[in-house]
Amino acid sequence: MRGLKIFAATALAGFVAFSGGAEAKDTLRLMTVFDAPTVKLWEPVLAAYNAANPDVEVKMETVAGSGAAVYPDVLRTSMASGDPPDVFFMWGGEIAGPFIKAGQVEPLDAYYEKYGWDKVVAPWTIERITRDGHKYGVPFHARGMGLWYRVDLFEKYGLSEPKTYDDLANICSTFKKDGIYCASFGGKFGWQTMRLLDYFTETTCGPEEHDKLNALQSSWNQPCVVAAYDRLAQWVKDGWLVPDFLNVAPNDARMPVYSGDAAMVFEGGWFEGVLKSDEQPLENYKFFLPPTGQTPVRYSAFPEQWMIPTSSKHKDQAAALINWMTIADTQKQYPEAFTASATIGVESDCTVAPRDCEWKKLLTSDSATYPPTDQAFTKELIDGFFEVQDGVVAGKITPADAAAQMQAKAEAWKAKQKS
C-alpha cells in the first residue's frame, strides 16, 4: 500500500512538473505562404527569436505555392474551427477584407502606439492596409511591379527604356516587325493581364480617376475606361502579345521571354529571385516603370502584412514577435530573409541583388503608387473584372461594351452590399 502511495505521489509530481513546464512555454503559430527556400532562410530568424525568448516557441506553418487562390481558404478553415495561428501572413487590400469584416482580425492601433510602427515602415504601405481608420496589420513586404525586358533584344534593335506611352508603342511595333512579341502574359487567374490593363487605365484616366474607379466612386462606363480597354484590344490585335495566352499560367508566360520569342514580362521585384532560380543570366534582364504620361507618375505596388487573429490567446506575444520581425536591427542581421522589406532603412545588398536594391530604393522613397485592382476589389468583383477583361482579349466584347459591363457589375456589387 505504501508503495502504491509513493508511486501515486511521484506520478502526480511528474504530472504537475510536466504541466508546469508546458505552461511555462507558449507556442506561437506563425502562418505564411513561404516556399521551401524561404522557409530555410527563416529558420535562423525564428531560432534566434526562440533563443532570446525562452518563454515562447515560434513555429512556422506554411501553405506554400498556393498564392491568394487557396491560402485564404486554409486560413478561413482554421479560424472557423477556432484554431487560428497567432500571427499570419496576408496580402494588402481586399484579400484581407472578408477576415476583417467578419471580426476575425485584431485591430493593432494600440500596438502601433506601443511600438511606434508608423515610423518604422514605409508610410504608403501603412496607408494601403488601413481600413475604416484602423490598422489591422503591419506591412513587412513592399512589392512593386514593372516591365522587365531582355537587354540583348533591346540592344539588338537599338531600343532604350521608354519615356512615354508612344515610346513604348514604338518599341512594341519594332519588335513585331522583327517577329518578336513585345510582351508575354499568362492570362490564367486573370491577375497578370490585369497588370497591363491597370497600367492602361492609369495612363488614360489619370491617377485621381483611377483611384476613384477602384473605390467605385466613379463610373466605369466612361471614355477613359473605354480607351484603356481599347488599348488592351489593340495590343492583342496588333500581335504585340504572345497569342492565345488567356489560359496560360503566369509562370509559364516567362518561357517565351527566356527563349527570346518575347521581349518583356510584367513582373514584380521578386522576378530577380525567379531569374536566379531559373538560371537565367541576371545581367540580361532589367526593368522600367511603364511610362504613364501623368502627374504624379505612379506604378503598381502593394504591401504584404502580418496580422493577428482576434481569437489568438497570445496577442501581446504575437505583437512582440511582429515587432521583432519588423525592426531594422533584426532585418539587417538576416538580409536574405527580408528582401523586399517595407521597413525603412533596411538596404538590400546591391552587389548580391541589384534589381531588388533598385526596387527597395523606389518603394521606400516618396514615389507614388497605385494598387493592383485585385487588391482594390473583393474576389467576387475582381472575378467579374477578369471576365470582362478576358472578353476583350478574346474579341468577344468591344471596349465600349466592356466599360458598360464593368459598370453594371460594379453597380450590382454595390446593390448587393446595401441589401
Binding site: M79, A102, G103, F189, L246, N247, M255, T378, D390, A394
Partner: protein, 307 residues
Amino acid sequence: MSEITLGARRPVIVRRRRWRIPVTAIPYLFLAPATLWYAAFLVYPMLQSLYVSFFDWDGLSPTMTFVGLENYINIFAVDEVARLALWNNILWTVGALVLPTFFGLMLALALNRRAPASTLFRTIFYSPAVLPLVAVGLIWAWMYNPHFGVVNVTLKAVGLRSWTNGWLSNYEMALPATFVTFIWSHVGFPMIFYLAGLQAISKDYYEAATIDGANAFQRFRHVTMPGLAETHVIVLSLAVINGFKVFDLVYTMTYGGPGRSTQVLGTWMYFQTFQYYHAGYGSALAWVIAAIVLVIAIPYIRRMSRG
C-alpha cells in the same frame, strides 16, 4: 476474537441470470459502429449544409441571416453563371455517359482474350485512372500550352500548323479540350468493369450462339450486351455521378475560364463558398448538384436492377 463456524448456515445459492442479446439485435450491433461513423461524418455534415443553404452566411461570422429559399431561387432565376455551369455539367455528363463508356467497352472487348501483351495493355490503359486528377490536369495544361505544348508542337511538326489552337484559351475549345483529358483519365474505369463483366459471361452462350449461326455482331448484340446488364448499371451510374461532380480537371486546367466559359457547378460552388464567402449560397449549389444526381441516378438504378 470471534470464531466462525463454517457450515453453520445453509449456503445460499445465487443464480445469476445470464443476460442474453436477442438474436435479432446482433446484426444491428455489428452495424452500430459503422452507422455511428456514417451519421457523424456524413449525415450530420450533409444536414448541416442543408441548414446553412437557407441562410446568408460568409462562413466566418458568428451571425447568419435566414433567407429561406432565396439562395435556391437565385441559382435558377438570377445567377447566369450558375445556369451556364449547369449547362456545362449537362454537356459534360452526356459526354461522360457516351465516350469513356464506349471506349472502355471497346478496349475491354479487345483485351478480353488471352493475348501475350493483354495484361500489359490493360495496365497501360488503366494507369491514368490511378493518377491524381490535379496532376493530370497540370500535365495536360502544359501539353495544351499554345507556345511550347506538345499538342501544338506536334501539329506543327507534321505540317498541320493551321490546326494549332490556343486550346484552353479559346472560349469554344476550352471545355472540349478539358473533356478530352477527362476521357483519357477515366476510360480505364469502364474498361476494368467491363472486363470483369465479360469474364463472368459463360463461354457456353457464345458456343451455342455460334452453333445457331450467329455472327460476331449478333453474338455481341444478343449475348454480350445482355450479359453486361449489371455492369452497365454500375458504369453508367458512375458516369452520371462523376459528370455532375466534376471539379479537379476544370479547376486545375482552366480555373473556370476563359471568362466563365468552363465553369461547372462544382467549381462554381467552390468559388462561391471559399472565394466569395457565400457559404449559404455555395451549400445551396451543393444540394442542387446532389439533387440532380439523385434524381437521375436512383430511378435509373432501380429500373436497371429490376430489368
